[in-house]
């Protein structure tokens, strides 16, 4: 965040200077214009002589000198802002990384075919969010010719519906979400989801916000809908009903003002998206967004490492490896495969070097096993058991 504040400081300075000079130049030019206007007027008044007097010449000359000096000052002052402006650029360069591409070792996307696939994935992402018009434009402009698989289509359609309801919630339209949650009420209950209650609560608050006139409507709503939640949300319902006391004076300035916070909407929308996808068994993120977000986590780490390697002049080590040099700390939700790293060699196992279970139950990689075994005898590195390396078993995760 310091990077943002640093830029902001310089930018504010620029804005202040521009604002000042706009006002300043306006005043100065107005002054000069007025001066000349009044001079012009004195000349008219002097109908008697049709010739300029010496006195007038001096006055005019003085006025000109003054004008030149003032206008010159404005242009110089404006020119001097240049330093402040270019400072912004320098601060941006210093605080943000401009050359982020060196982390990508190969040119995986240079090939047209791969680029096509990426564009297709982008299109899929927007179909998934129900933005068919965006996807269509992209399919046309990027000339995507390959067909989308029916599986993708079907899943996308399902999610597009969910996403549409989600958008409705963010626009404070609850009815599609209420309809949906009524339909899946049992499934939601089974997952212990607070969604249905949260939606009804918002609907109730929405009625409250209409003011005191809607009081009986609110009470009717509560009577019809809150009954089934009494066991789980007794406290919250009491709280909601308590707010009715302050309805005449306005809930905004009452102890219940938290009910009016927009955060409740953000929260409900989030819970909807999460629980809804959970119930339907679909992922709330498209493959593209999972990859992009993983990339956003990975890039800073890789850039950091690159900087260090560059300063030590060991950048060469990077290339030619088929593995990233560091581990990227991803959200556990986004780990899809088991990875077994040999605790002895500290590297991932592979088909060439598979994990082996020793007869004592400890697991190491085959390479490590070969290194540790002494002829027909192997001592487990983790417990005192001695065994034959032959007894180790190839295992699969």
């Amino acid at each position: 965040m310091e990077s943002c504040s640093a830029v902001e400081r310089e930018l504010d300075r620029v804005i202040a200077k521009f604002t000042d000079i706009r006002e300043d130049s306006e005043n100065v030019i107005s002054d000069v214009t007025n001066l000349f206007d009044s001079l012009k007027d004195t000349l008219t008044d002097d109908e008697a002589s049709s010739q300029i007097s010496e006195n007038q010449v001096t006055i005019l000359n003085e006025a000109f000198a003054k004008m030149r000096e003032k206008l010159h000052r404005i242009t110089t002052e404006h020119r001097e802002i240049h330093g402040t402006v270019s400072k912004v650029g320098k601060v941006i360069d210093r605080n943000f990384v401009s050359d982020f591409q060196a982390t990508a070792r190969s040119d995986a996307l240079v090939e047209d075919r791969n680029m096509q696939m990426l564009n297709k994935l982008v299109a899929e992402h927007y179909i998934r969010q129900g933005m068919d018009d965006v996807a269509e434009a992209l399919i046309r402009e990027a000339e995507i010719r390959t067909e989308f698989s029916p599986k993708v289509r079907e899943q996308s359609q399902q999610f597009a519906e969910v996403y549409h309801i989600w958008e409705c919630i963010t626009n404070h339209n609850l009815s599609p979400a209420l309809e949906w949650s009524a339909k899946y009420s049992e499934e939601l209950d089974a997952k212990n989801s607070p969604l249905e209650f949260k939606l009804h609560r918002l609907a109730f608050i929405q009625i409250l916000s209409l003011g005191v006139g809607a009081q009986s409507e609110a009470i009717t709503y509560a009577r019809t809908n809150f009954g089934k939640f009494v066991n789980r949300y007794e406290k919250e319902i009491q709280n909601l009903m308590g707010s009715l006391i302050y309805l005449p004076t306005g809930i905004h300035n009452s102890p219940y003002k938290h009910l009016m916070s927009p955060e409740l909407w953000t929260e409900a929308a989030y819970i909807f998206l999460k629980d809804c996808c959970n119930v339907l068994g679909i992922s709330k993120d498209s493959p593209l967004s999972v990859v992009v977000n993983a990339g956003c986590t990975a890039l800073p780490a890789l850039l950091n490492l690159k900087q260090v390697m560059q300063s030590r002049q060991v950048l060469g080590i990077w290339s030619g490896r088929d593995e990233l040099p560091i581990e990227i700390d991803l959200d556990p939700d986004h780990r899809y495969h088991s990875v077994f790293a040999c605790p002895i060699l500290r590297q991932q196992t592979s088909e060439d070097n598979p994990p082996m279970k020793l007869s004592c139950g400890h697991v190491i990689s085959r390479d490590a096993l070969n290194k540790l075994s002494n002829g027909l005898l192997l001592k487990c590195p983790y417990c005192p058991i001695e065994q034959s390396p032959e007894d180790a078993k190839y295992i699969y995760f």
Binding site: V14, I15, F18, I29, T33, F36, D37, I52, V57, L60, F64, R68, L71, I74, T75, R79, I81, S86, V88, F96, V97, F100, A104, R105, S106, A108, L109, M117, L121, V122, H125, D133, V134, L138, E141, A142, E267, P287, L288, V290, V291, N293, G295, C296, T297, L299, A301, D322, E323, R335, Y336, S338, F340, A341, R346, G361, V363, Y382, I395, Y396
Partner: protein, 393 residues
């Protein structure tokens, strides 16, 4: 290093370049208008001698005042331009600062929702930038309008590019030449040859139209400026006069090739990036590569262990990721293939006699009523098997 620091350079640098451009434009306007006023004043001073006629002086004075009013208007306009360009930059800073979510929201859901929302906008921004880069202007515009983040993207700058490119595609150079003139000093600084290439193309087109006299005139008018750096190319061009349009001799055949227009489009696009300090590769491309690497495991490439939820196992990503490095992993990270739960002290890894490992919690699920266990991967049934505990360090 924070994500914002690593990835948002162009988000701020592009509007900065716009401020800089507006500043230079404003300076030019101010200088020009002030000197106009000065000229009017000098004119008047010449006539201003005792005894000059009042009427004439009055008229000249009126001229000066008029000039002053023009100056006032223009100064205000151009400084307001500078200010609005600065506010664009400021708006983006505000958006970037939201990523830190400094205000502590009341609960976890709200916090998570805000982060998700920010990430969604970031991805839309990246995709818009990607589309603009590859000339998918319509898609970019629709997306920006749909998501309401137009002010966070560089759509406006690329609007000009779109017009220039359209013009070039219709085999016209006028707009591109105009663009070159507007950015003359910057282009000179980055050693761009775009303007020269345009002039060559115009020359070639004149010959194609069998208008060799005009071509010579054109060459006389425009080529001398480039003599210092491009003499060799100029010589080649001039030799073109001696060849028929359907010649088979290189490099003249190449010069007549209409595909040169497409090259001009790419050339222009490239110079436009350089002008705004945009890197040659799109951020989306770089991020996707880094993300694929971070997710890629050898299992993504073996038919038996694909996971339908894993993006890298997905067909298209799988292909793109082929030449990218695998993720690095120094600490085992095991997931049960039946329950999807991590294997740890609460869910001990257990081995079936065929060497397949499943979590403790999965065993009841794969055990039939008669005690037979069917391995979910190999489908081998085991009657009352010996299930061994496995220890992972």
């Amino acid at each position: 290093m924070s994500e914002v620091r690593a990835m948002e350079h162009s988000t701020l640098k592009v509007p900065y370049e716009v401020i800089n451009k507006k500043f230079r434009l404003a300076q030019k306007t101010l200088d020009r208008e002030v000197s106009q006023v000065q000229n009017a004043a000098t004119e008047m001073e010449k006539c201003l001698k005792p005894g000059a006629s009042v009427g004439e002086i009055r008229k000249l004075l009126g001229g000066v005042v008029e000039r002053l009013q023009v100056l006032k208007r223009k100064a205000n306009e151009s400084i307001s331009d500078e200010l609005s360009a600065s506010y664009v930059c400021k708006r983006r800073l505000e958006h970037l600062k939201e990523s830190a979510a400094s205000e502590q929201p009341s609960n976890f859901e709200v916090w998570q929702a805000n982060i998700d929302n920010w990430k969604r906008i970031r991805m839309d921004r990246m995709i818009i930038e990607h589309c603009l880069r590859y000339g998918f202007y319509e898609s970019a515009e629709r997306l920006a309008n749909r998501t309401g983040i137009k002010d966070l993207t560089n759509l406006e700058i690329f609007q000009v590019a779109r017009e220039v490119e359209g013009d070039l595609r219709n085999r016209k150079t006028a707009k591109c030449i105009m663009w070159c003139n507007e950015n003359k000093s910057k282009l000179r600084k980055i050693n761009s040859t775009l303007e020269f290439q345009l002039r060559v193309q115009e020359f070639v087109e004149l010959i194609r139209d069998r208008n060799r006299m005009e071509a010579v005139k054109h060459a006389r008018k425009y080529f001398p400026v480039f003599e210092k750096d491009q003499l060799k190319e100029i010589c080649q061009c001039m030799a073109l006069l001696a060849f028929p349009v359907d010649t088979d001799i290189e490099p003249y055949k190449g010069l007549f090739n209409p595909d040169r227009w497409d090259e001009l489009v790419l050339n222009f696009r490239n110079e436009n990036y350089r002008l705004f300090n945009l890197s040659a590769q799109s951020l989306l491309g770089v991020t996707v590569q880094a993300g694929l690497s971070a997710l890629k495991t050898p299992q993504c490439y073996s038919v038996s262990s694909k996971n339908p939820n894993c993006p890298v196992c997905e067909e298209d990503f799988n292909e793109i990721a082929k030449c990218l490095p695998y993720s690095h992993c120094a600490q085992s990270r095991l997931i049960c293939r039946v329950t999807g739960l991590p294997l740890n002290e609460h869910n001990l890894p257990m081995m079936l006699p065929n060497g397949q490992i499943y979590g403790q919690l999965a065993i009841p699920q794969i055990t039939k009523d008669d005690g037979t266990i069917v391995c979910p991967v190999t489908k081998t049934p085991f009657t009352d098997p010996k299930i061994e505990k496995v220890f992972i360090m």
